[in-house]
Symmetry: D2
Subunit: 353 residues, 4 copies
């Protein structure tokens, strides 16, 4: 790390900081400039010393502390020897491999009939994972909060019938176990990205986790949230870019597609993109899905509803089943153009119906 001292720091102050650094295992190398003194400090991996940085910054003589190693370890690219992680969900569904994995389904599980119809059709179109909310985080306490356990059961049944996996959100620490019983992927929503209580809890299970980006999370904070889960023992983590909050009112969020290649250079975790939440506008879902495949996403999660005009929630950003069916081969063509695949094994699905 580099400790930059304020202009006019005394030799005494330089010695004080240097001694503190040595005490924490660093080798110290002060550089005395005309205006300022900086202390170069090299030593062990800094991710175990985050509090120490905070303490250094508190000295009156210290202007800044610059880290030169990353504060996370298990989720860093180097941890997996520079290779992307592959999360095997069974049944040939692998996140982080050559295939861009498609997740689709309604925002909220509403009815058996609608869910099964959606599952059947998205499976036939090439989706591998069924999405759907059983426990819903809602900005207002008066919004519909989801079907709960009944919703989980319906998701599992619909997925099993059509050869799909299940991804669904968990938002209560006391329900992690229940949701893990029905889901193949536990989704941590944007509002809970820094709910450390919940991160710790999912870190204790072995079910795969999809960690959505906080609305205002920097890449480093997001990776540190993932590190919580990994440090707890659960390394089956994928990240999901779902848009950040900006000043632009036209879209619900600003989908930050540059995060995908950026994360790929920092971390080995696979990255999913959510163009539905990421834009909040139905007509932007298809073009942003194409962009997400082109930029290198390992999967997409899309809200699909048989009748969006009558969806209980988020209908404005849901596309119809027909739109999804039309979109899939278009995404497949882009996946092929970048040397990946997306829909080639549609015909290998079990006979439906």
């Amino acid at each position: 790390m580099i400790v930059v001292l304020k202009g006019g720091s005394t030799a005494e102050q330089v010695r004080e900081i240097s001694e503190r650094l040595v005490e924490f295992g660093y080798q110290v190398n002060p550089i005395f400039g005309v205006e300022k003194t900086v202390i170069g400090a090299v030593g062990g991996s800094e991710h175990t010393k985050v509090d120490f940085i905070d303490q250094l910054k508190a000295y009156d003589s210290v202007e800044d502390v610059v880290l030169i190693t990353k504060p996370y370890k298990f989720v860093a690219k180097e941890y997996n020897k520079g290779e992307k992680s592959r999360i095997d969900l069974g049944g040939g569904v692998i996140i982080g491999g050559d295939e861009v994995v498609m997740m689709a389904g309604p925002c909220t599980v509403e009815s058996e009939e609608g869910l099964f119809k959606t599952a059947e059709r998205v499976a036939a179109a090439g989706a591998k994972i069924l999405r759907g909310g059983a426990y819903k985080p809602c900005t207002s306490p008066y919004s519909y909060q989801g079907m709960g356990t009944d919703g989980l059961k319906l998701l599992r049944a619909a997925a099993d019938k059509y050869g799909l996996k299940v991804v669904t959100e968990v938002m209560h620490v006391r329900k992690v176990e229940e949701v893990a019983e029905y889901a193949d992927i536990l989704q941590i929503g944007t509002r809970n990205m820094q709910n450390y209580d919940l991160l710790t809890e999912v870190g204790r299970c072995r079910t795969a986790v999809m960690l959505k980006r906080g609305m205002t999370a920097k890449l480093e904070e997001w990776l540190l949230a993932a590190e919580y889960i990994a440090a707890g023992g659960n390394e089956r983590i994928m990240l999901c870019e779902r848009g950040i909050r900006t000043f632009e009112p036209y879209t619900r969020n600003t989908l930050d597609l540059s995060a995908i290649p950026a994360l790929n250079s920092l971390s080995h975790l696979p990255v999913i993109v959510d163009p539905s939440q990421g834009t909040g506008r139905r007509e932007l879902v298809a073009p942003m899905s194409k962009a997400a495949v082109a930029v290198g996403a390992d999967g997409l999660i899309i809200e699909v509803h048989p009748n969006p005009d009558h969806a209980i929630k988020d209908g404005a950003q849901s596309i119809t089943i027909e739109t999804f069916e039309k979109l899939m081969p278009e995404l497949g063509a882009i996946a092929n153009a970048i040397g990946r695949n997306l829909v080639e094994n549609i015909r290998r699905l079990p006979a439906l119906g």
Copy 2:
């Protein structure tokens, strides 16, 4: 509410939307313009109909839905007849009255000696409430996470000895009861503002709650989070502005002081300001504290440490006890200038030591 239809909507579409509105209890009044049609819909209070709005927006023919009543009820200014709420913590400490209530103490409870020394001195200077973290939310899993129960006990003991109340953060749903046993105010931190699991849990107790603003929360979302707590039955809520995330790197956050008068016109809840978290820089705490008193805050919460250069956490934004002692009469003078008081009853404190 106002439903704006897209240009070129058919009479059929206008009828479809109108019927849906009538079905939900609205009286409907369509206005046919040259370019567009809008439907004015009046009826009962809209906070119970949030999902319905979502459904309307999903119609292909609908361009926008504009609410004309607020989506919250218990925390709205009208609910308390336009008066500010007063939260009586006992012992003459009232949040929301004439007095600007000062909360001070270390970021994190570290040692008995330091905590008691701080409590004694801030009490003597006029603070009424002792702050200190026992359970700490940390961006990194490798940071110090607090003393836990032992920290709570120390806080209570130090506060009791010097006639103070206690505010401390709760971040685990399964520890709300424990923290409530020791604290007079349960703090919900910025990362948990939309942790509905936790909001629901504190809504069940009767201990006062201080709800910090999420880093990226709009005023309406913040009030809706407070509504979760109130709807659960706990109406003893104060809000705490602690800075929002912006593009400016100089400060840790951008302290949004305009939120205080804005909230005062929207809600009856008292509002506290945290200039320590809000700026992240020690030298900005005093001027921003003055501004916060001038703008009408009902209280301030300030990080004070006997030796900030050796604080375990957040030393860079902690001020010394001496700075706090010097600041208090300056804040008192500003409070007087706007017709409130802040330190006049210092001498009425119990003899110390």
Copy 3:
């Protein structure tokens, strides 16, 4: 427009506002609700009445004014009957047609040799337009401000030699004429998006204009800035998304690709993407270029430098000529996947050298 009156407005106030609306040519339709009154006002196109809206908002009785028509006219999609504009630059180069037009070159014109080498190679790879800064806007007054007229001459000469068009920035109102003499497209930079003096000036010429998005411009403000140019008589305008400012420090800006399909639904103007400025990081240029083509950009503008490590400016975001050559067929494949083309006519270029 919809005028929402505050709760408790009197009949007198409703009449006052209604009369004002009638005075400005609106037909008025008040809706009296239980809590509030709203006035629906329909009439002529609102883009000529922007100040009137401002005046309405100033009434104490008015809570909000909601526009239901767009405030711009010449750049609105409807103005061109829903079709995208085609800007013909001559020599078969058309912006807004089937072809995704590639613009490439150094951030800043530095030397004849480097510029000609770059022009030759990017032309051979399929670029149609040479970019390069002769007048440079710099955050610091001590930065290199460009070669000026000499730079313009070099650009023109290099472009002519290799069959390219020229795009370059103009930032001084008194140099619009000079720059227009050498350039095929006048670039208005992000810092000048709301420099109305300059917008008015380029509105007077007939050279094509590329208007970059302001760092913090909403889509509507951007389109209104374009409207300044169009209202001045110059309708040959293309927009250029170059990233917006957000809280994320990893990238220089956050490239908002959702702006492309959003603009396509609001306006007939072609949209270009700048992945170099938009990310500030060389390694993100290729993936974001692919995403930009996939999302529907009409062109890309990329910083290419023969030796980025020795570029005077912005080397960190410039790619090498070799990287560009490798990228072009990859972009071509994606363009084909969405039914457009990008590099198929490489061989039709004049013999080089």
Copy 4:
């Protein structure tokens, strides 16, 4: 400066960078760590070397470059020996002294009668400077753009009659001379903060300049914009905080009051606050004005209109003359509480009327 090399950099690469640094006059001190190498480079003042930083960042082997001195010189606090600049406007009006200087007047000059009435009353209430727009920057080309020269004449006449100075915006490089003829302070608006053409032009005159913060300007960028003016020879500069753009829709901008003490620690330039533009809401002007005085602003600029409900522009954020008259003694009390003054010399004004 500190140059951080990427992990795995070779000795060859370290030598290459070191030689480049030496070439630019730095003394070089490499520190070889386990994971990374950093090079400490000390030497002359870095504000003349901004482009060199850019070049270093472009090396493939360089991960980051950390500046340890500020990139500006004339506006830095050290340049004025740590003292705040005093800008003497004549007639006893000094910006940057003990007095908090009040600027007030209409957003836009509309009529002789209204302007004179406003000038008379705000002068009597203690304002020293008359504000008013003669050339108005407008988001829409269809908005009222101001009275131009006639407006300037009216401003001068009204100010002279009531013993006031004049501040007004200049937005055209070719009108700087004209505006300077009538105004005591040239205002550069938020949209033009990085209009270097205009900054250079006002740098050539000797009239005082008030540089408003760009909507999205970091403190450093703002100071660099001021440096443009100072480097041109005009050191009579004051800054004006007028709110930054954030995600919050309730206020027009987020007024960043922490910028005032922050600027005071970085620069010697006086700082003004604009609570009208900064909030966009009339009811927030008074509380935010109080906060601005408390935080240490050297002046305030407030939109005051005799009849805001009929103002041509920005009526929603204008306060009435009566509100201003009531506010002044309240601000005076706060100024006194922090040891400054604001209205004590009201009675010394010339007899009015």
